[in-house]
Every structure is written in structure tokens, then in C-alpha cells.
Amino acid sequence: MSDPVFRGGLAGAKAIDGSISVSAIDDRGMIDLRGDIKDKKFVAATKKVLGISLPAQPRQSVNKGEVTALWLSPDQWLITCPRAKGAHLANGLQTALAGIHSLAVDVSDARSIIRLEGQGAKEVLMKGAPVDLLASEYTDGYVRRLRFAELAAMIHVVSSDPEIIDLYVFRSYAQYAWDWLAATSTKQSRLSLFANQSIASV
């Protein structure tokens, strides 16, 4: 039989060109990794397989080459890599972590990723997320799990200048999140905060 046909959670979603640009990322592999960061064996084994040290600080990420480790919790990370390498990397982790209390699961299909690009990406997210996205820590590499459009979601600030933010949502919610972004990122609803305001009437 032919190879399985891949169909992501946002298959058929056409990129949106509004106040910012919104597009779907389908080709990313993801591994949910749990373990004790104080366990030297766990740290060493993961570093050997991933080529990076897991971030220990909350809401940080570490990237090298194709692999990025996003902090989820004091004992949980989301490892991202090119999709083609996801299963291989997950197997590598499971093998290297044998006998070490940990859990590494390939969850490449569990989430959909929506990329927001352009000045105003944060303002679009602020229409759905009750967090202070204008705070100074939201800079390159910052990760935060949050509630977006009433959904469990996570953002990863890929770059703050130019503004690129990846929004992670669970696959079953992807279309809803997409429709939400389409509704709130229209050119007419652009939101300009603090700077760039025109002079108020008196």
C-alpha cells in the first residue's frame, strides 16, 4: 500500500494576511519529556541525545540547530525538531533514559502550531489571552503556557524583532483558534497601544 497521507490539524487553512500574517506550521516534531532536572543522569542522557541542556528556568527555551527545548514545568519540557526526526529523537531519548525515572513521548500530532508574524502580533494575542504580553520578559525565546481564546495554549516568542510568535494549541482546538485569529487580526481591528497613538481630542 501507499505511504500514509499526512493531514495536519490545519490542513487547508489558507494563510491570513490581515493586521499581521498568520500561517500554519505542520512539519514540526514534538516530544513531551518529563524527568528530574536535579538528576544528573537524566540531565546527561538528555543532553547526549538532544545536544542541548534543558532549560531549568521557568518559561525559557534553549535552541541549537534543529532542536529546541521549551520549558513547560519544573519537570516537563516540549522538545521540538523537524517532523521527520521526531520519532527517531523520541526513540533515542527512550533508549538513553532506560532505567532513569522519566517519560519521553512522541506527541508530534497532539498539537497544531500557528505562526503569527508582524508588528502587532502581541496585540492580536492580547485579544484572547489575559497575560501581560507587553512585559519586558516577552523577548526572544520566551515561552508561556496560557489561556488563549478560552483554550489551553502556549506561546513561543521566536523573535521579538521582527515579531514572530508561535502559538501552540492542541490539535482538536486548532480550527477554533485559527478562526479566532482570523476574526481578531483583520486590518480594521488593528490595535495600537501606548506608542503610535494619535493626539486625543480636547
Binding site: M1, K127, F170, A183
Partner: protein, 999 residues
């Protein structure tokens, strides 16, 4: 008044907001009118010689505008047409645009002639509490007679037709300091707060900053207040750390400085809405500190027929002249108890509006501004009060004002004089706008000097400055503003402006001016204009024993209209105080609750409308399902296919066909919504032992076991099959609805109680598409697809699982069955789900495969007597109750719910147990939830009930008292139109030995 020249000429200096080069046309009650850019609807209507803008709620008396802004009780209008018609807007806030259609409210058939005015003449029939007193009897009259009549006569505007064409949104913003109110005090606070780089927001409900600076007469740094405001507004909007908002009302203050701001983006300019801009935006703001500079609102003084069109607040008259170039009338009388009204007098005089005189209740007030008014030739009359008005044209036109000597507490006077005038500008002093202060528990205290409630204390990090704080002088407003700003933003090196302090004569509170005549004989003293509550109503309520102000409010409806008593609360309490001989603070304070002003449902809904109304979860096969069936069933947030009708098939026929196809051939079900949780660690087995009622320790790798989960109270909360993937590694299945809850439940126990257990838990529901392939031909379908897994019964028996490859797809394969048939559940990563589904259907074609929906699934399981947690259980049902004592371990030392299950009340006889029901008439299907009644007592209820096409009869399950001991007995279920009889039977209706799934 029609046709008279109420628009003041350009060269009068009046009307600073008007752009007279831009005339606008609009309609009011169908009549074509013109105004200018800069007008409000109220000012434009007034300029067209129209003073009556609505009729009152109860008595349908003609009413004109009273105030200058959002506190307006009278001039309520509907604006727009069709689906864009919005009722109950305050005309004083509505910014005029070209082509506006507006209508007055509470009048029928027209504003000039209103049938409801009869209520005015019958007002002795409408005393306090008239609803309670009049419409109580006979009871049967309420629905058919009283309610429809009241609903027709009462009510405010007309709701829009059709779907709202506009869009709305919300936004969450954090700031260090939020300044509420853009007047002088607010601007000073924002400047100081922002000076050190703090993130500052300042907002004002009007279209512009400045508050009443433009209608004030004092100077700041030798400049007009307006010029000073212009400078501040420019520098604040230019600052990168300041966000300035206008047309933005802070409508609520909640815990920990959480506030909601209602911003109107397009109401003043429909072209923006037509282009697709959001109409309203609701801001949810978390502020480190809040500075309230919400100003003060002027209050009226009560005299006979003080509601007649033409009686307005002094500030409203001044605003009409100064901002909109509209004369409130030809000859005005000013009625005051404080100095502010003298600014109005001077303003009117300067603009060429006639002033009959100033009537001041104070005996001998002395101040600069009073002298200035006298010097300008304005006649003053001290120690007097307005006692009433003489009107014509059915109360729509004021002809003269009655004035009587006034001595506080002296009561009715007779020696009055009459002065011709056609409008009255009243100033009874100013009340701090402290609503937001009170929303989240701020306290008020009575101030005798100002005769108002002013802020006292607050638990939140919130400051209140300027007139909102009872500081009524300019110098004080600036000082408090800067001080609060510095406290919030850090010591700022700002050059503070200089203000020449002018001494004012103190205000003298005056609540009630007695009339020469009797109450209710053409002499109504209105307190609450919007709800038509009079001084007589309040006094009646006191006589009838409504001593508490809260009771009086509810009995008379004082302060309960859409303006929430902004104008009426303090005068109302003043009247009650006088009537009861108490001081105002003894009468009580009022509680202000959000919202500060009404706001739109659109803003509340925000983005969540239409397809975004509620979250919808979609499986990987969702698009295929919706292409095959329109019958989707909500299961939690998921949408699952209920059944797949073919051709002209009915839903019931489709369900029957799908069931029989599973029993006879093979069916496929999208079971992806089932919860899936990976559980791993050296203590994973022990952990499962504690979470489930039954044993998991002995489970072998590659095998599955059904588990029951109780809460700590011993009641069933979930169930599902757990597979052992490796020595220390399990995969738990939960119910579809329970997936998130159970994952959190496991985490909670691991983190808070059994943190010594070495176990990690990760939910993986979303990772997998999972399909049940069920029926005698199930194995043949998989064999045709090809697999590296040995699919034989010997290698992969019932309740076994394997990992491998099917048709090139990576899969987990489970021999589990919820239908009682030979069944495989196959899971593949979700992004391959649709393709695997397609390939299974293709391969299964020759074996008669057909998809089945959730209803077939439910019937199939009910035929087998399998429970559904949530159908057979309701949060008070134990494993013993549903006949699953076999799954309750006696050996395990501890598991969740174990101790509770042994509590006396859960073990005593007489509990309900799960049974099957066979109706005496096999064609009769019991309704879900039908009650069993025996000897007049409720002894059970139906938990699931279906037509079984397999058995060609109805089947049902029920919880019945002592049911397990009553096999073969008949019980009856009385319904609305008949009684259904059924025999208590074993809940397993089909294949009791379980042979069919074990092949």
C-alpha cells in the same frame, strides 16, 4: 418653541465644538433636522427648537434633557434602524453624524400626543408599590391581562431586528497605573505617574479629554484651563508609556484592581463600522494602581413639577451654550445653592441668552463670582427658592417660575411671586462620582460641608482625587492629582502649575422646596425622573413602614432605573432624612454596583459569536463526518457523528442499520475522543492500584484491564481500559468527557498526597486517532489491510494489545470491545487518522463495513449491559449499586474511595441497584429518566432506554430500590399520558456469556 432661533450665532463665541462649515442632516421621530459636526443629538434637537425628548416611564409626562452626559435620566433615545437600531441611548452622549435616524421613547402614538399621559391624571392609582398593590388579584389575571398590559405600557426602547451586523472584541491589557477620568485632576495624575516611565493608561468616557475645564472660569499658569488641558493631552498621547483613551467608560472595578473599560470605536462614525472596524471593544485591564479622577455630577433641587422640559442642571445649560452654541431657551432663571451656577449665569449672559434672575437659597452668600455676576447686571435674589413652574402646551412649555422665600426647615410658604422664564438652570451642589470606588468594597462617608457622600476607605491599591474625592476647587484637584500620580509612579520632577485660589461661598444643602398647593394635584416633586418616583412616594413609603433605605428603594423603585440613581440617590436620601427627622448618614448609604453605565451585549460577547460562540473540538476525521452526516452530537466540547443517515433514511432507521451491521458484518467508529493518558515510573502499578477500585498489580505487559474509578466519597467518577505497555509503563483510557478531568485528578494525587510515588503522567489524547472496528468481520478487514502484528485469536486474544504496523501506519492495536462483538481498537498518530480511516473503509467494503455513530455505540453497549458513567451514574452511585462489586478489591490496603464505600449509609439495605427493564409491550420504549412509582413512592428511574434492533424490542436500564433482589417483578412508570409497565430483568440483554467478543 419650534422655529425659534435657538442656535446661537457664530460671533457669540459660543459653541466651541461646532464645525459650522459641516452641516449634518438627521431625523428625530421622523422629522428632518439639521445640526453641525460636533453636536450631540441632544444639542442638535434643542437647536431645532425641540425641547421634549421623551416621556417618562410611569406617568408618560413629557421630558427634556437634564444633564450634560452619561448620567442623563430623561433624554433616552433609539438610534439607527433595523438591525442597527439601539434603544435607551442617552441623547446627551450620542455624537451626531450625517444621516442619523433617531426616535424618542415611551410615547404612543407620538411624543406630542401620548395616550399614556392618562396615567398622569390617574396618578392617585399609581402610588408607591403600585405593582404590588394593584396587580395581585385575581391571580389568574396576571398572565393574560396584567402582564401584557404592563409590558406594552412600560418598558423603554425597542430592541433591534435581526442579527447584529457589527463586530465586537475584547482585549486584555496590563498597566502600572490606570487613571480614570481625563479632567484636570486625572491629567495631572497621569503626568506625574508617567514621569518615571511607568506604563500608564488614562481614559475618559467622553469623546475628549479635559472634563469640565472648558466650561470653567479659573486659570492655570495664567492660561485658560482649556489651553492647559490641550498641552497635557498632547504630551500624554505623545508619550510612549502612556495610552490615552476617549469614548471609553470604565464600567466596573473588581478584585485586585481588575477593571473593565467599554470603548466605543464607531458609534460616532458609521463609516468605520461599515468598513469592518469593531464597533465596541471591551478592555479587561489589570492595573497595579488605580487613580480615580471620575469627577462630580451636579444634582438638582426638588420643587413642584421640577420635571418639566426646560428644567435642567446648570452645568447642562452651560454646556449647551459653551460647547454646542445652543440657547436652552430665551429667558432663563437660575436656581442655586452654590457658586458654580454663577459661572453658568455669566456664560449665558456673555452669549446673549436672557437671564430673568438668579434665585439662591442662601441668605447672604459672598464671593468674587457672585459679585462678578451682579456687576454684569444679573439680578440676584437670596434666601429664596423656586417653588414651582407654570406651564402650557400640556406641560411641554414653561411660561413662568414661582419663587417663594426660603428658610431651611420652615415648610410651606404662601407669599410667592411669579417671574416669566422659559427655562430653569438648577444647581443643587455636586456629588462625587464615586461609583467605581464602591464597586469593590470602597466605603463612603457623609460630608456635612459639601452635603454629599465622599470616599472614605478602600482595601485595594486605589486612590481617588479631585472632585470625585469631594475636592471641589481647582487648586485642590491639581494638588491631589499630582500627589496621587507621584505616589503611584514615583517622585516626579514635574513643574507644577500655579493657580490663583478663589474663595467660594459654601454650598447650602436644599433637598425639597415646598409647593403652594397639595401633592398630586398638579404638584409632583420628582426625585427619580427615570422611574417617576416623587417626594410624596418616598414619604408614603416612610408612613407605610419602609424604614430602611434599601426597602424604600425597592418599594418605590427609587434609583433602580438604568441610570442607577445617579441623579436621585442623594436627594432621595435627603428627603427621607427630612421626613424621618434623621441625619442623611443615619438613613444609610447606597451601594453602587457594576456597570457604571449600561453597555452592549456585543461587548460582553466580544469575539465569541457565530462559529466562535463556543469552543468546538474536532477529531482528525471531523471533516469526513460532516461530509457524510449533518447529525453531530456534542460530547463535551467535541462534536461526534450521532448517526449517518443514507438516502432518505430516518435517523432511527440509520441507527438500526448501523447496529445490525456491527452485529452481522463490521462497523467502524471514530473513538478518538476517548481520553488517553501515559503513566510511567517504578511506582506506576501501585499508583493505578490506588486510583482504581480493582487490582492492576498483576497485569501483564501487552494486556488490558477494565478499571473503575471512584472519588473519595465512594461514588463512581470514571471508567475505562488501561493497557500495560511495559513493566513500568501504562496507557490509561478514560471516558471522552473525563479526559482532562482525570489527567488533572491523577496529577493532583501525585503532587499533593502521594508525592513519594515515582510516577510521571502525560495526557496523549490529542496525539492519537483511534477507531473501533467491530463485528464478526473485523479481523478480516485488518488482515486485508496487512499488518506485522499477528491478528489471530491465539496471538492477540480478547483484552490484549500490540504495537506495530497496519497498512504502513504505525499503530497501537487493542482487542477491547464496547459492543460485545469481535472488536479491535486501532490507534494511529492523529495526522494520519483521516488516511487510515479511508483505507479501512476501502478494505472493509467487501466485508460490508459501515461507519456507526454515537447512538449505535450506546445501543450496542446497552444490549450488553455495559454502563456509561454519567448515564447509569449521577455522582451518588457506587460500584456495588451498578452490580460491579466484582471490580472492588478487598485485598488492596488503600485506594481512593475505599474507606467511604464502607460508611454505614452506603452499606445499609434499601439502596437503588442497576437492573434491566423489559417493557410488557415490547414496542414501548421508555423515556430516559422515567420515574418508577410504587405505592405512591418514587423507587427508581430509567438511566438508559433504547429500541434494540438486535432483539427487536425495547430495552432499558434503571436504578431501582433493592432492584437486584427483585428479578422478575413488574414495576410501573407513570408518564403524563399513560403508564408503562416493565419487568425487572438482568441488565445484560444479549450474549450473556460474552462469546461473541472472545473469538
Amino acid at each position: 418653541m419650534t422655529g425659534k432661533p435657538y442656535r446661537l450665532p457664530d460671533d457669540s463665541g459660543a459653541g466651541r465644538l461646532l464645525d459650522r462649515s459641516k452641516p449634518l442632516s438627521f431625523t428625530f421621530d421622523g422629522k428632518k433636522m439639521t445640526g453641525y459636526a460636533g453636536d450631540t443629538l441632544a444639542s442638535a434637537v434643542m437647536a431645532n427648537g425641540r425641547r421634549v425628548m421623551g416621556r417618562s416611564f410611569k406617568y408618560h409626562r413629557p421630558r427634556g434633557l437634564i444633564t450634560m452626559g452619561s448620567e442623563e435620566p430623561n433624554a433616552l433615545v433609539g438610534v439607527g434602524t433595523g438591525s442597527r437600531r439601539e434603544p435607551n441611548l442617552r441623547a446627551t452622549q450620542v455624537e451626531l453624524f450625517d444621516g442619523m435616524t433617531s426616535v424618542s421613547q415611551n410615547r404612543w402614538p407620538s411624543l406630542d400626543f401620548d395616550v399614556g399621559i392618562i396615567n398622569n391624571h390617574m396618578s392617585r392609582l399609581f402610588p408607591s408599590g403600585f405593582y404590588y398593590k394593584t396587580f395581585m388579584w385575581p391571580k389568574t389575571f396576571w398572565h393574560k391581562v396584567y402582564e401584557p398590559v404592563i409590558r406594552n405600557a412600560a418598558g423603554l426602547g425597542v430592541a433591534p431586528d435581526g442579527v447584529d451586523p457589527d463586530s465586537y472584541e475584547q482585549v486584555h491589557v496590563h498597566c502600572d497605573v490606570l487613571v480614570v477620568g481625563g479632567g484636570v485632576a486625572g491629567l495631572a495624575a497621569a503626568q506625574a505617574a508617567a514621569a518615571n516611565g511607568k506604563r500608564v493608561m488614562i481614559c475618559d468616557e467622553t469623546p475628549r479629554l479635559g472634563g469640565i475645564a472648558d466650561i470653567s472660569n479659573e486659570l492655570i499658569d495664567g492660561k485658560s484651563q482649556l489651553d492647559w488641558v490641550r498641552e497635557q493631552a498632547a504630551s500624554l498621547t505623545a508619550a510612549d508609556n502612556v495610552h490615552v483613551m476617549t469614548r471609553a467608560t470604565v464600567i466596573g472595578h473588581y478584585h485586585h484592581n481588575y477593571l473593565m473599560i467599554f470603548e466605543r470605536l464607531t458609534d460616532h462614525n458609521p463609516a468605520l463600522a461599515a468598513a469592518g472596524a469593531p464597533r465596541h471593544r471591551l478592555w479587561k485591564v489589570r492595573a497595579g494602581k488605580v487613580i480615580l479622577a471620575s469627577g462630580a455630577s451636579e444634582r438638582t433641587m426638588t420643587f413642584a413639577n421640577n420635571d418639566r422640559p426646560g428644567v435642567m442642571l446648570s452645568s447642562a445649560a452651560r454646556t449647551l451654550v459653551e460647547r454646542y452654541g445652543v440657547a436652552p431657551g430665551l429667558m432663563g432663571l437660575i436656581f442655586a445653592n452654590n457658586d458654580d451656577a454663577y459661572i453658568t449665569a455669566l456664560s449665558l449672559k456673555r452669549s446673549g441668552v436672557g437671564i430673568a434672575r438668579i434665585v439662591d437659597v442662601r441668605e447672604n452668600p459672598q464671593s468674587e463670582i457672585i459679585t462678578a455676576a451682579q456687576d454684569a447686571g444679573i439680578e440676584t435674589m437670596f434666601g429664596h427658592a423656586v417653588a414651582g413652574v407654570e406651564t402650557s402646551a400640556g406641560g411641554k412649555q414653561i411660561d413662568a417660575v414661582k419663587i417663594a422665600p426660603y428658610v431651611k426647615g420652615r415648610g410651606r410658604v404662601v407669599n410667592e411671586i411669579t417671574v416669566p422664564a422659559d427655562f430653569i438652570a438648577v444647581s443643587g451642589g455636586w456629588n462625587p462620582v464615586a461609583h467605581l470606588w464602591c464597586h469593590n468594597g470602597g466605603k463612603l462617608q457623609w460630608d456635612d460641608t459639601l452635603a454629599c457622600f465622599k470616599p472614605k476607605s478602600h482595601d485595594d491599591d486605589i486612590a481617588i482625587v479631585g472632585s470625585a474625592n469631594g475636592t471641589m476647587d481647582l487648586a485642590g484637584c491639581l494638588k491631589e492629582g499630582y500627589a496621587a500620580g507621584e505616589k503611584a509612579g514615583g517622585k516626579a520632577r514635574l513643574k507644577k502649575p500655579r493657580v490663583v485660589v478663589r474663595k467660594q461661598a459654601p454650598v447650602e444643602p436644599m433637598w425639597f422646596s415646598p409647593a403652594t398647593g397639595k401633592y398630586n394635584e398638579g404638584n409632583k416633586h420628582f426625585i427619580d425622573l427615570q422611574n417617576d418616583v416623587t417626594a410624596a412616594d418616598l414619604e408614603l413609603a416612610q408612613r407605610e413602614g419602609y424604614e430602611s433605605v434599601e426597602h424604600t428603594k425597592r418599594y418605590t423603585t427609587l434609583g433602580m432605573a438604568t441610570d442607577q440613581g445617579k441623579n436621585s440617590n442623594v436627594p432621595g436620601m435627603g428627603i427621607i432624612a427630612e421626613a424621618t427627622g434623621k441625619a442623611v448618614p443615619e438613613v444609610g448609604t447606597t451601594t453602587f454596583r457594576p456597570p457604571y453605565t449600561p453597555f452592549s451585549f456585543g461587548a460582553i460577547a466580544g469575539t465569541q459569536r457565530g462559529k466562535l460562540f463556543h469552543v468546538i473540538r474536532r477529531t482528525a476525521v471531523y471533516d469526513w463526518h460532516t461530509s457524510q452526516t449533518s447529525v453531530m452530537e456534542p460530547v463535551g466540547d467535541w462534536r461526534r457523528p450521532y448517526c449517518y443517515p443514507q438516502g432518505g433514511e430516518s435517523q432511527q432507521d440509520a441507527i438500526n442499520r448501523e447496529i445490525l451491521n456491527v452485529r452481522n458484518n463490521v462497523g467502524i467508529l471514530d473513538a478518538s475522543t476517548l481520553g488517553k493518558i501515559e503513566i510511567k515510573g517504578p511506582d506506576a502499578g501501585e499508583f493505578l492500584n490506588r486510583m482504581y477500585t480493582n487490582m492492576f498489580a498483576g497485569l501483564k505487559t501487552g494486556k488490558c484491564r477494565y478499571g473503575l474509578m471512584m472519588n473519595e466519597m465512594g461514588f463512581l467518577m470514571d471508567d475505562g481500559v488501561t493497557a500495560k505497555l511495559a513493566d513500568d509503563h501504562y496507557l490509561m483510557h478514560t471516558t471522552s468527557g473525563g479526559a482532562d478531568r482525570i489527567a488533572a485528578w491523577l496529577e493532583e494525587w501525585l503532587q499533593t498526597e502521594w508525592y513519594d510515588l515515582k510516577v510521571y503522567v502525560t495526557p496523549v489524547t490529542e496525539q492519537w486517532s483511534q477507531f473501533a472496528i467491530a463485528g464478526p468481520n473485523a479481523r478480516k478487514v485488518l488482515e486485508k489491510l496487512g499488518s506485522d502484528i499477528d491478528l489471530s485469536h491465539e496471538a492477540l486474544p480478547f483484552m490484549a494489545m500490540a504495537t506495530g504496523d497496519i497498512a504502513g501506519f504505525p499503530v497501537r492495536l487493542f482487542r477491547i470491545s464496547f459492543s460485545g462483538e469481535l472488536s479491535f481498537e486501532v490507534a494511529t498518530p492523529a495526522n494520519y487518522g483521516q488516511d487510515l480511516w479511508d483505507k479501512i473503509l476501502e478494505a472493509g467494503k467487501e466485508f460490508g463495513i459501515a461507519p456507526y455513530g454515537t447512538e449505535a455505540l450506546h445501543v450496542l453497549r446497552a444490549e450488553k449491559g455495559f454502563i456509561v458513567v454519567g448515564d447509569e451514574t449521577d455522582g451518588t452511585v457506587t460500584p456495588h449499586d451498578v452490580g460491579m462489586s466484582w471490580a472492588v478489591s478487598k485485598k488492596k490496603p488503600d485506594y481512593i474511595g475505599k474507606r467511604s464505600l464502607e460508611q454505614a449509609f452506603l452499606t445499609e439495605p434499601g439502596r437503588k441497584q442497576l437492573v434491566g427493564l423489559a417493557t410488557t409491550d415490547p414496542n414501548e420504549v421508555l423515556p430516559d429518566g422515567a420515574p418508577a412509582v410504587e405505592s405512591g413512592k418514587l423507587t427508581g428511574h430509567v438511566t438508559s432506554s433504547y429500541w434494540s434492533p438486535t432483539l427487536k424490542r425495547s430495552i432499558a436500564m434503571a436504578l431501582v430500590k433493592n432492584g437486584s433482589e427483585r428479578m422478575g417483578e413488574k414495576i410501573s412508570f407513570p408518564l403524563a399520558d399513560k403508564v408503562i409497565e416493565a419487568e425487572i430483568v438482568d441488565p445484560v440483554f444479549y450474549d450473556k456469556e460474552g462469546a461473541r467478543q472472545n473469538v
